[in-house]
């Protein structure tokens, strides 16, 4: 598939039309999405109008933007005005937001063409997209397997070559893990680098929006478009961010890269460890200095995350009460209506996390659970900060295993374990991305994770590019 970078150049120069690109995307979706189920809804009219507008701008001699004509898919937990936005939940079935998320505004201002909304684990809670109320998404490499989650639809949309770019959200690994499982690039930016305005919140202090792409260049292009301060998001970084595209090919000579010890042993599959070691060798060959580093607090990340995220979620999801929008199941009084609506509208995983979170915040338990988890969070952030005093970047596997079979992990705890490598950077707020690097023993994609200090995406992208270049030479 043509890269987004190249496609945009072709559209801007008039050699290729945005309308044709959109048609091609809809064509490939029609051909194979019945099997994959990456998409929940297509936004044909909006896409066609936008594509026509882009082509018109080119005809008028105006610059339609860096993503001119690029078809892009949006995870269905981001608001698209007038289009269905369901978070893959029955409780929001039929809801059409009256406003666009900031990232949607920015993409369209850059000329991108939104073709549809993608499937996810309900309310972004999950690691396999099996928790969607509207059926799972399948891994394009092996449709008996999961694409990962929660942004499984967006990962598969790129993995299946439906679109060159898509957006996902990452709270505990929900971009990076599906990227690894689908063999694509996936980025979780620094907390605050990309506006959360219009992202339906799961865990407000952990959520970030980021791109999926086939290659590092496209991911850089997309990140540079969607990132930057937004006055509508009070947690958005106010100072300008360093663009990632210009320095992409600057290489890694002299960079000190630490492989996180605690994520290279127990709980990680051998073939994944092997690939990660290979990646480390590739970076060394490219001039980096790669060593092991111990960050002991990472082993507490899972426990802290599974208290903090559900706690915030229990509060964020309270608004789904049948009063103002979405589905309603009636009751004799409003409280009964709330109960009936929420009990019918939420799936089991969502209910589980809401109850866990409510408990962690409740009177008498706050200090033991939520309060403690927040302190562990500081501990993790501090240890990362210390590590970054000696290292420019860190690395680890992205996912403990390659894609597993649909239905294979039914125990909630087993699914939670999928996030062990990705969670620490959500807790600390630092950026991290997954780069495809070979396949596992089963021939399924493996992703390697690069981690960077706050707002050092440009540095991280250099290493990702070097890794990608090295991967091309692999068998």
């Amino acid at each position: 598939m043509t890269s987004a970078f190249d496609l945009a150049a072709l559209v801007r120069s008039g050699e290729y039309s945005a309308v044709a690109a959109a048609d091609t995307a809809f064509g490939s979706i029609k051909e194979r999405d019945d099997e994959i189920h990456a998409f929940l809804h297509l936004t044909k009219r909006r896409a066609q109008a936008q594509a026509a507008a882009v082509d018109q701008a080119v005809a008028d001699g105006k610059d339609p933007g860096p993503l001119a004509g690029v078809p892009i898919a949006i995870k269905d937990n981001m608001c698209t005005k007038g289009e269905p936005t369901t978070c893959s939940s029955k409780i929001l079935e039929g809801w059409r937001p009256p406003y666009d998320a900031t990232v949607v505004d920015r993409l369209e201002a850059a000329g991108a063409v939104i073709v549809g909304k993608t499937n996810l684990d309900e309310f972004a809670m999950g690691s396999s997209t099996e928790n969607s109320a509207f059926g799972p998404t399948r891994n394009p490499h092996d449709t008996s397997r999961v694409p990962g989650g929660s942004s499984g639809g967006s990962a598969a949309a790129v993995g299946a070559d439906f679109v060159p770019l898509s957006l996902g959200s990452d709270t505990g690994g929900s971009i990076r893990q599906p990227a690894a499982l689908c063999g694509v690039v996936g980025l979780k930016p620094s907390y605050g680098a990309v506006s959360r305005y219009g992202l339906i919140a799961f865990a407000s202090s952990l959520d970030q929006i980021g791109p999926f792409a086939h290659n590092v260049t496209d991911a850089a292009l997309c990140f540079d478009v969607i990132s930057g301060h937004d006055p509508k998001d009070a947690t958005s970084i106010p100072t300008p961010l360093t663009p990632t595209l210009p320095t992409l090919n600057d290489g890694v000579a002299g960079m000190r890269i630490g492989i996180i010890d605690e994520l290279m042993g127990e709980g990680i599959d051998d073939d994944v460890i092997a690939r990660t070691n290979q990646a480390a060798e590739a970076l060394t060959a490219a001039g980096a200095i790669v060593e092991r580093v111990s960050i002991p607090a990472t082993i507490y990340g899972l426990a802290a995350y599974y208290l903090i995220a559900p706690a915030e979620a229990s509060s964020n999801l309270a608004r789904f009460d049948g009063v103002r929008y979405g589905q309603r199941v009636d009751g004799a009084n409003v409280a009964a209506m709330n109960v009936a609506t929420r009990s019918a509208g939420f799936g089991d995983e969502v209910k589980r996390r809401i109850m866990l979170g409510t408990y962690a915040l409740s009177s008498g338990y706050y200090d033991a659970y939520y309060g403690k988890a927040q302190r562990v969070r500081t501990l993790i952030a501090n240890e990362f900060a210390t590590a970054y005093e000696s290292f420019d970047l860190l690395m680890s596997p992205t996912s403990p295993s390659t894609a597993f079979e649909l239905g294979a992990k039914s125990d909630p705890m087993a699914l939670y374990m999928c996030d062990v490598c990705t969670i620490p950077s959500n807790l600390a707020g630092h950026p991290a991305m997954s780069v495809p690097f070979g396949v596992g023993d089963d021939g399924l994609p493996v992703g390697v994770q690069i981690l960077a200090p706050m707002v050092e995406e440009a540095r991280m992208f250099r290493a990702a590019k070097a890794l990608e270049d090295a991967a091309k030479g692999m068998s």
Partner: protein, 100 residues
């Protein structure tokens, strides 16, 4: 099952969260929550007395906006999405009791 959380506590927490669980669900969820909370118990081995809590991974302060009026949403558009509306307002079954 460790008993990290009891059936009664799960039932209480469900009602706080406006969720209704039948007997089977109550049993299943209680088991599952115990497992997760057991994992959380790992944190008890840490000495966190000197470590402050972290609410946000950003160090921003005093983020504010000027006191300027911005156009509101169109009421009809909003109410069109409401499950039930009447006289320009959202309509719900009666609220028992006063707000806290």
């Amino acid at each position: 099952m460790s008993g990290a959380i009891s059936r009664e506590e799960v039932a209480h927490v469900a009602s706080l969260a406006r969720l209704r669980l039948d007997d089977n669900e109550l049993g299943t969820f209680t088991e599952q929550l115990c497992v997760v909370l057991d994992t959380a118990a790992k944190l008890n081995s840490l000495d966190l007395s000197e470590v402050p809590p972290m609410s946000q991974p950003c160090f921003l302060t005093n983020v504010m906006r000027p006191d300027v009026i911005v156009p509101s949403l169109n009421r009809d558009d909003v109410l069109a999405q409401a499950p039930e509306a009447e006289n320009g307002q959202f309509r719900v079954p009666p609220a028992m009791g006063e707000a806290p």
